[in-house]
Symmetry: C2
Amino acid sequence: MVILNQNTVTEHIQHKRFEQLRSMLLDCNAVDIALLLRDIPAEDRALAFRLLPKGLAVQVFEHMEPDQQHQLLEAFTTDTARDLVMGMSPDDRAALLDEVPASVASRLVRLLSPRERKVTLELLGYEEGTAGRLMTPYFVGLRDDMTVGQALERIRRMAHDRETIYYAYVVDGERHLLGAVSLKDLVLTHDDTRISEMMTTSPKYVMTYTDQEDAARLLQDYDLLAVPVVDSENRLVGIVTWDDLADVMEEEATEDIYRYGAVEVPEEGYFRASLLNVARRRVVWLFLLIAVNTVTGSIIAGQSDLLQEVVILAAFVPLLIGTGGNVGAQSSTVEISGLATGEVGGGRAAFIVGRELAVGLLLGALLGLLVVAWAYLLGRELRVAIIVGVTLLAISSMAAMVGGALPFVFRVFKIDPAMVSAPFITTVMDIFGVTLYFLIAHLLLRL
Amino acid sequence: MVILNQNTVTEHIQHKRFEQLRSMLLDCNAVDIALLLRDIPAEDRALAFRLLPKGLAVQVFEHMEPDQQHQLLEAFTTDTARDLVMGMSPDDRAALLDEVPASVASRLVRLLSPRERKVTLELLGYEEGTAGRLMTPYFVGLRDDMTVGQALERIRRMAHDRETIYYAYVVDGERHLLGAVSLKDLVLTHDDTRISEMMTTSPKYVMTYTDQEDAARLLQDYDLLAVPVVDSENRLVGIVTWDDLADVMEEEATEDIYRYGAVEVPEEGYFRASLLNVARRRVVWLFLLIAVNTVTGSIIAGQSDLLQEVVILAAFVPLLIGTGGNVGAQSSTVEISGLATGEVGGGRAAFIVGRELAVGLLLGALLGLLVVAWAYLLGRELRVAIIVGVTLLAISSMAAMVGGALPFVFRVFKIDPAMVSAPFITTVMDIFGVTLYFLIAHLLLRL
């Protein structure tokens, strides 16, 4: 396995050793070349790319990101650009056209053959993030009155331009989806058997408007390599293959993690976005959180008299609200992830929130005892130490309950539970925390 | 598509309508049956399971979780248990044996045929979480001097018990890995062509000890359906297929999210673990975080005189340290996720942390202005309002820098960057926050 090194490539280009670079590239996998070209300067990229023979160039091109594809196309003649864009699979091509400016897109569409143009424009008609946008219309279709031998013959004839030949789909005269067969089953069945006798009837399918995440989950749950996509009349219009859906799974996981950190993902990816764009994606959340947090300020400001009297109370605020935030973050993490993987259903919400409350009480009791000891050592005032311990118990239970319940509450109001971010929970618990603290302090100091 | 309903199943069982239940189950997909059985009481599960014909029973069994497989096996006769365990693929069987008590495991191993016993014990020899543990030894092996026609014939003959036939691997007499061919390429090539002329030489592969996450990434990056696994002498010992790796990807994503919320995942899954076990998995982190947070208490306690004098200062503590935590959580989220997906390399650490600092300054300046206005309205003291604004600017920059840098620092010390959880960042920023606040307050109040 030849591992390409981006420094070697840049050096070869600087010293104009194009023949050496070319033979180096020819030894490599298309994906490796794409990964390498991603990280070198744009001029070098176009230069290196020109060295590739046409077939390999098309493969490498398809594995690049849309913005770099666009840059490359601008650097090439119309003929080369046509070859590259024609060589892409329809779903990748739709993703590219969606990315480039409208004028470029319409110029690229004009380069396509009438058939490819029709196919591409159809895909672009589906919303981003749906199965319709991800699918390819190049699947293997069979009739149910064919024999296995005929089906294998047909697959062999069609294989060269099909996205996958490992599944074939059986349709009637109006293209309604009737069944599915795997190449493995075909190979294991006698040539004279009719497809209708051996196909899986009522195979799993998705609609064109099915969310790409749901399509990915279906593929994963049923160990499929591809899933057929049908329109509202149950006509087979395409298939989504597992390689597209693996990317979707990763994308969605990243999105969930970002959301949990209260960052909106810029379209071009965080690390390639401009500084201002990044700040814009973060400031909205921060501003909202600060607005919410002004409540804590008002509450504490209203307790000036108490604080003037027992100033040591102020020392425990960060620890108390911090622990509330931490317990809340733990509980919400678990519920959000459970809802996302389907491990937790809405039906068991009451049970699960109750269980979180029990966990919160247990944690609060354990940690509260420790904190009482520490608070007494720091302040040498037993009543303050007791106030701090009781507050910790109360905050911990409340945080576990609120953190566990919020994802469900969001879902009831049709908001994505993943919007319950760690910073959001922390901020909510700041308010509950100071409220509980001063409430308990007033109650116990009056004893 | 028949959607099974768990209430219907329970009802059928209660009224002993076994024939109806049986014909209902026969209409369903094995995966759906497994999902359904997962959620009904254990006695009903065994009852319903007994109704399945042998072939379907084996398939359903394989899609269940190890602990439920174990329960079922205990309920059956030795003969049925043998059929079920023999019907599993070796990697799933290894996962089951790893889960059950040692006495049960050795009893189950004795049920196996000598060949299956050998294969299973070999897999158990590899560490959990490695490619060796996930692989199946049932792949299609070819010789490079075969013709395509001979290869297709061999594949057809072997297909019934191979995990996948869509890739075949070419080995020499000592089982060294020489190349790979896809069934698609075989189908597209003339029958008389030699395998050596059309195979992919130096295919991507993993070692038996390769981390399962790395194997999954390889599959995804190169759009493969399976990847060969070789031992330290480069001998082909098995293949890992995409369905196992899709589960790995989901598992690892869940683990990352849990870690980011500072929860250790109990082995049996959070929602099936006992209350005490769950509390145990959370209390360690909480305790550590509280221990760290006692520092803030000591700092504030040391500032009693200042607070007695300007008591309104205490009102802004939650907002200031909260914003620090939020900015830090955002920055660390982005870096952890970038490191996990490989989007960010260690080489660019300085650049990336610098960029975070710039973002933090920008955010701090924007939010600081707003906060000055609010602080003045609340306290009617201009100097306090200015202290709060300046602190916010300082905290925001520092939080972005610390949050952005910590994942890299962890990596330098060979700690998984995913250990930088939101609660950890929040707690660290609590300390920095109060320190900066009182420092700035002293400086500005002395003016």
